[in-house]
Symmetry: C2
């Protein structure tokens, strides 16, 4: 046996043991009362507050190591806990606990001519694996959403945030115990060994779904290697389309907000499409607003002819998620051409049309096949909290099971409950 094989086998055994414990815990958690699950979250929120000082101290260990390793400022910012970020985690848990019970809900009910009464009822999904990077708060958000929906969670935090994440996972466990729920409903992988990630991705029949939270390279690896289903988005190449019937005031404020409010999030706009009939009137104004806000523009030749200080865009620009203060701009001849552009270059995340025309809005909202389609609103609303879900464990662009912001209601499955009175099939 080579060392590599032994190593992989150890990782597989480790994940197997976590899965076995998770399965047993999930069976109890999944049939526990809603008030009990809410209590676990509220108790954990209290513990977060009472352990603020300890959390800050633990986080300092991770930060010191990160500085020593020479990690980037952006990375260190994501890793850093502050009193206010710690309070946000506690509030986040309390907000999740105010959501309606995601399980046991009657999704549909009907009767058959033979008297059978059929209910489609929401149930927990099972065991959820969450693989994330530097942000310690993902520990709390993910575990909170999973527990509320009766799911066990296996967390795999980044190696650079291991002390902070382990401390927070322990707080979630203590919340479970305070509510008399099984502690193994929240487990964190007790090693930073990368083979453990491979073992999670291969745990078909053990882990029901994997949710990655992190940069594109993490998501790419997971989508490529996973045998377990994955809820994820690889990138957010979000579009705003300024229609022929756009209101200029709305177009200006939405364009600036969609691009510049925060440029590093997946819901930030990356491409603006402008209808040719209003390009001359609107584009120079909108472009000036964006440039004033610090945005670099890269346009096709039609756009550049109207705003000469733009760079000329090339085909790569339409494919690029800048995650930066850069926007590509294209003039289109119709709503159809806008829809076609999005079908070709978009990533199925979020697109918004700015128009006062019902017809154009209907065409866009119906025919654009993205997780989120918007009318006269900023793409930066693509977020579970903004949708009223309390929080989100991520945003999915796949079309299977979960799509768009994934809150606790999406971390469920369903079953059919058929009630009869002795019916047999003829």
């Amino acid at each position: 046996m080579t060392d590599t094989t032994a190593h992989t086998q150890n990782a597989t055994r480790l994940i197997d043991s976590l899965v076995t414990a998770a399965r047993a815990a999930q069976m109890v958690l999944g049939t526990s009362g809603f008030a009990t699950r809410q209590l676990a979250l509220r108790e954990a929120a209290k513990l977060i507050r009472t352990h603020t000082a300890d959390l800050l101290a633990t986080n300092k260990e991770d930060l010191a190591a990160a500085v020593k390793t020479g990690l980037s400022d952006a990375f260190i910012d994501r890793l850093t806990l502050t009193e206010s970020r710690i309070e946000d985690m506690a509030v986040g848990l309390e907000t999740i606990a105010t959501q309606p019970d995601p399980i046991g809900a009657e999704l549909a009910r009907w009767q058959r001519p033979n008297g059978l009464d059929i209910t489609r009822q929401s149930t927990p999904l099972g065991i959820i694996g969450v693989i994330y990077e530097s942000r310690p708060n993902v520990t709390i958000d993910a575990a909170g959403l999973c527990v509320l929906a009766g799911n066990a969670v296996i967390l795999r935090g980044g190696s650079d945030s291991q002390h902070s994440s382990a401390f927070l996972a322990d707080i979630m466990v203590r919340g479970l115990v305070a509510a008399d729920l099984p502690p193994a409903a929240v487990q964190i992988v007790p090693t930073t060994d990368r083979d453990a990630v491979g073992a999670m991705l291969a745990a078909v029949g053990g882990i029901d779904v994997i949710i990655p939270r992190g940069g594109k390279s993490l998501v790419e690896r997971i989508q490529r290697e996973a045998r377990v289903p994955v809820f994820a988005h690889l990138e957010g190449i979000c579009h705003i389309y300024i229609d022929k019937y756009a209101d200029l005031t709305k177009a200006r404020t939405i364009a600036v907000n969609a691009k510049m409010r925060r440029t590093g999030i997946c819901g930030a706009a990356e491409t603006m499409l402008v209808h040719q009939d209003v390009a001359a009137e609107m584009l120079p104004t909108i472009a000036a607003d964006l440039q004033k806000a610090g945005c670099q523009l890269r346009g096709d030749s039609a756009a550049k002819s109207l705003v000469p200080d733009m760079q000329l865009a090339n085909d790569d620009d339409w494919h690029t998620e800048y995650l930066d203060a850069i926007l590509s701009v294209r003039v289109v001849d119709s709503v159809d051409m806008a829809i076609d552009h999005i079908a070709r270059y978009g990533s199925g995340h979020t697109e918004s049309i700015i128009t006062e025309s019902d017809e154009a809005a209907d065409a866009f909202l119906t025919r654009v096949d993205s997780a989120i389609v918007m009318l006269n609103a900023s793409t930066q609303f693509a977020d579970g909290s903004e949708f009223g879900m309390g929080a989100e464990i991520g945003i999915a662009t796949g079309r299977l099971h979960a799509r768009g912001p994934v809150g606790s209601a999406q971390l469920t499955s369903f079953k059919y409950v058929v009630r009869g009175d002795g019916q047999i099939r003829g």
Copy 2:
């Protein structure tokens, strides 16, 4: 390049070309009106009827080859078309067309404090691959359900039914054309080459979901090899549990029906659990009914002590889907033990409790984590038609996306439509 590699590459190119055509067709089909999709199905139903004689003649070619190959009587029965089976296909399509529109439905709608109006709306799933064996009617059922929900379908029928299936696929195409819909929404893989199946299973990003219809070995291969998500059930080890508070009359009729109505279907019961407090009273009667109906019984020692002419069951029996006139029987000491038995040995398909006790029913229906849980009804109702779905493309036991009978409403995804009036995020 080896021959094998060249072969695989050819298969990949073939499936790629079908996917490209399917994607373009799906974009048109997926935004077509409901009446148009209904018309395609009804036109195909008409064509089935007018081509009855041609269908029978084509089917004879497949049958002659099957006889020559020495295929089993059961196989030949599944392959055989008759006038009545042909009429059933036409009626099946018409029934599917009477279902409500699966796409564009408002699944949920709410308003946010900032005035954003959010709708969760059903959309087509995309491209569905169906891999099946001998039954030619799967061509019609699968294509009908897919088209109604705005999906393109790529069909891969069994090599022994290729002439019949290709003829039926062509009828579906002609139905599409009659409704002015793109013909590539229904395609059949034009080769019986097994590499084509491998290429379908590997078509990540091309085919959105694979649905296998056939025996356990087919489903096993597909679940093992597929990189594309799969809706399937490997087996149906269905249970009936005769509770302490069972009504004996219901228990007798349901037990016989659940096991013996048709023994070869996935919803047939394979194990009967009986509460110890009523075993002496009920088991001999129920066993006599079953034996009279031709069923062989295999019981644990407690069951055998009450019905001495039973065989003694071993641990394998609890794991076995007989698909035959055989039933395993176990005496349990409580509803909890019944639930534990099902969690350990069941396949997550369908289980039924026979009881007049609300408490026992609640425990069973809540805690048994199967796709379908029943109260006082035969497990043989596990079927899309019996559920009122018009037809089913299969039954899924996974917990992701589709679970239980998969009708056209389950062959959908959803998107969020967000309507604003100029909102930007703060």
